[in-house]
Subunit: 571 residues, 2 copies
């Protein structure tokens, strides 16, 4: 492509409303433009990158025997009612009515559609296994779209669904996808880690997220420093400490005027936060849930949600509810005598002795509270782990990092096939529900994650496999015929080899051209300037400072060598 | 792909609800499945075909310097309000609200989005011309979705928009697209014709539809038998006959009890239909429109709509309105003394003499009515042409055929750029509106049109360029090791050449396999059977009855020859 003809609106300035690097660089490199909050249009420089990611996904999935299909984003409500999710999905699901007043949604995910398709077409074990995927636009009305294409309301997703006759089949399908994902993200140049994750609203038993470590990630990932254990914070299991052997002391009510927070309590009692228990009140689908964790810990809302049977709406209780539950102002809740639908006690609190808790009486706390003697509840793991926690697998300590979730794979089991009657006749002549898995990759988010890991102060440094173009040819002065002639010849020769080439034939200073090519991140630059009198050009890799002067007849092999080095097929 | 693993649910029976051949064959060949009225999912055999059409479109458009982008289908109402179309688009536009109660639509077309994008990014003539396209899902809530993917509510469309500094630029862009479309449809194997068309709701001055002649087409196309004139029925211009020189006779009221229709009038008066004028009453955006055409003619509602300034809602008046306008029951309307917002008289009626018309009085008609003397109105071309009409260009008679519209190109001019303030600074320093064109192709409909033109009683006969796979290799008996071994070798060898091959390794009789391969329309079939003892296989083209027996080492060159013959690139 000749850059003089190209629709590539680059920006010199960092856009004010772009907080993270990938968002800034996607805007500056002319890859995307915002149409509405969380809704983006993809410009030529963007769509080329997104398409390359899609092509890699296709290659790796086809390699595993997956087959591509394409379902509509417009889904009749009936399918979601069959699975029971029509009423469960909240405001995130975009809904509309057709001209005949029938309910539809814009698919935020496609379990129902794929399950129904298989239900209609599959009757026998002979037709299984199948693994079907699509690359398609998903719609999710996010409460807080942000960070450019990291979290949007309309985005491209590869979603795949596997259909097996039994759990062993699902295990194989899941492992195939695990391997495919590992290859896909490696080919995208991403340093990523699969981590155990909660299955959430999708349901199912086992699930892994593919996480790209990044400071801008919205998720916290927990890694073990000693073994390969890695989990999403939502899922990471907190080690259960030995029960304290301290002797139980007598309960004692203390007047604590104006002392509400753990920090205020630490100052008041001159004790560290681990000597306190904090009691939080939630409302989950209309029921009250009390959670008690140590003063220095954070409640893990996912664990709490799972413990009360999976919830849709989950939030901290308001003042009114807290008063009803505790008989006191906010800040004085405690587990003794509290009245709630669920009382959940974190392992650490159950195993500790003589904690200071709220008295359920405004301006009072209680010393020396002990689980079992003074209060009861369901004991379990209800807190976030910390770096002080030890791995339950190997006992080494944890490391915590932020990550961007680029892929997610689930063993669904028979959740959807049972709800929707997606059965097959097995070898033994019996009707059984199909055993399913589901597997997603966010395409644009993957591109954003690549930028987060591949950039410098001048712009993007695309891996060769993902770059919108492989090479940019820069004639230093387009008015010099000898520059332009050679540049055009290099441009044509490389294109004939199957290399994707930009020719910067714009009437701009070389400095401007260099700046643009660095901003948009083209992996190789060939500059045609004064050395051309000696039949030489300058060759520079985007990721290196080194400038090589090479002869014209070396260009092809030099470029080819980069493809070999990066393990990218030419043409 | 090995067919034993493939998701290809073929059907023996013709599905009851599929009226036309392409719909029946797409269902039977396992290409598509219906999810809701007018909403289809694409299965592997379908998506491969649709993707090939898309690839051809991309190649031809890129060749013309067009650049691919991708806009969201979710469009904020603001853009449509800017252009003035938010209130103009009827129930066909699917609308929804987001969680913050903001209005969005699902784009039925993207003039607004592209215009706004260019408005944001382009400031100078130096950045023009541009021609941007996307291949993307459109949503149109059709009143009557039908004929499978011919008319759906969610479909893949290639839409392109050109941006020029002046009309001469637009002329070139339009001609480029005209040429690209001609190539695209030729490569798809379609016998098609570009015809003049009405610009309709999109607006603009000049427009052409690319029509595939087919009995199942929803459009009528008018061709001149003597020259290259071709137009959509909506647009085809009716020749204006010489005024009659017959003497005007005296008006005469006749009692015509129970005589309403033209047929009843013919019987009652013993005269042919051309001796009558029929008067139809419409309601257009709340205004009454009376149209008078000869008894043997049909009103052209597009011409009428244009004559009254372009309308959104347009329908025949109900009984109540007819009574208010004519003072009579339905069946006795006539132009004399009729009270309506518009009275439109077709040229033929104005030029005829002594017509019989309704009396605007129940059970009465009037003889010898004459335009000018007895009634007035706006005279013009308000009827459909017939095969008896003569071409206004060359005088030869017309031929009328049915056609499927697969593409449509428009000169929009400055309609959208003026409404939305999409301006640029020209060479002369003046701000001017960008001059636009727009260009669409329906992807799935193109595939359906190809099937309408390429099928026989056994199934689809895909052109090589569009076929989901090029070759099917059929081992007659998979239990015979020598059949399977050779079949697999051919399968692998052809794949290595870049040929897309199916291996029918299903445990089925050869007859079943042949029937399936004919149904799904694979262009070449290689059968590995008893001749293999002599190192020979059977080679058969789908479009021919002839079976060639060729040796194993001839296979590659035989297959290659078909690619050359069909002008399709290998690999």
């Amino acid at each position: 492509m000749k850059m003089s003809k190209m629709f590539m609106p680059t920006l010199r300035e960092v856009p004010a409303d772009a907080e993270i690097t990938s968002h800034q660089l996607m805007l500056r490199a002319g890859m995307i433009r915002k149409m509405a909050s969380g809704v983006y249009n993809q410009l030529p420089m963007g769509i080329r990158v997104f398409n390359k990611i899609q092509d890699i996904i296709r290659e790796e999935l086809n390699e595993k025997g997956c087959q591509e299909i394409l379902c509509s984003a417009l889904i009749p409500a009936e399918l979601w009612k069959e699975s029971g999710r029509w009423d469960v999905m909240g405001a995130e699901m975009m809904r509309l009515k057709d001209r005949n007043d029938r309910d539809f949604c814009l698919g935020p995910t496609h379990e129902e559609v794929f399950t129904d398709l298989i239900k209609q077409e599959i009757t026998s074990y002979k037709q299984l296994p199948l693994n079907l995927y699509q690359i398609q636009v998903k719609y999710r009305d996010e409460r807080r779209p942000r960070f450019g294409v990291m979290r949007t309301r309309s985005f491209t997703m590869k979603d795949a669904y596997s259909f097996d006759t039994d759990e062993a089949g699902l295990d194989k399908s899941y492992q195939d996808m695990f391997d495919a994902y590992t290859n896909i993200f490696a080919r995208c140049g991403l340093d990523n880690s699969p981590v155990q994750a909660d299955t959430g609203a999708i349901g199912g038993s086992v699930s892994a997220e593919f996480m790209v470590k990044s400071e801008v990630g919205e998720d916290e990932i927990v890694f073990c420093s000693g073994c390969d254990y890695a989990a999403n914070m939502e899922k990471a299991v907190a080690v259960v400490a030995e029960p304290s052997t301290e002797e139980m002391k007598e309960l004692k009510e203390v007047h604590t005027p104006g002392v509400h927070t753990i920090e205020e309590l630490e100052n008041f009692f001159k004790l560290s936060a681990d000597k306190f228990a904090k009691t939080l009140v939630y409302v989950a689908d209309g029921k009250t849930v009390v959670v008690v964790v140590r003063g220095d810990r954070e409640v893990n809302e996912t664990k709490v949600g799972n413990a009360v049977g999976g919830v849709v709406e989950f939030e901290l209780a308001n003042e009114e509810v807290v008063k009803a539950v505790t008989n006191a102002e906010i800040g004085f809740a405690g587990p003794i005598g509290i009245k709630a639908d669920y009382v959940l006690i974190d392992n650490e609190v159950a195993n500790a002795r003589n904690l200071i808790i709220g008295a359920n009486k405004t301006e009072y706390h209680i010393e020396n509270a002990n689980y079992g003697r003074d209060f009861e509840g369901t004991v379990g793991d209800f807190r976030n782990v910390t770096e002080q926690d030890k791995c339950t697998k190997c006992g080494s300590h944890f490391e915590i990092a932020r990550g961007v979730e680029v892929g997610h794979i689930f063993k669904l089991g028979t959740k959807y096939s049972e709800a929707m009657g997606c059965n097959f006749i097995d070898k033994d002549g019996k009707s059984k529900p199909v055993v399913m898995g589901c597997y997603g990759i966010g395409v644009e988010r993957t591109a954003a994650a690549i930028i987060e890991q591949h950039h410098d102060e001048n712009g993007i440094t695309w891996p060769l496999a993902i770059a919108p173009y492989h090479v940019v040819v820069v004639p230093v002065n387009i008015k010099k015929e000898e520059h332009m002639e050679v540049a055009e010849k290099i441009y044509n020769d490389l294109q004939a080899m199957g290399v994707e080439v930009l020719l910067d034939d714009r009437d701009e200073r070389a400095g401007v051209k260099f700046k643009d090519s660095e901003l948009i991140g083209i992996p190789m630059r060939i500059t045609v300037g004064k050395d051309i009198v000696d039949g030489k050009v300058e060759f520079k890799l985007r990721k290196s400072e080194e400038k090589e002067v090479i002869s014209l007849d070396e260009i092809k092999s030099r470029v080819e060598a980069e493809f070999v080095k990066n393990n990218v097929k030419l043409g």
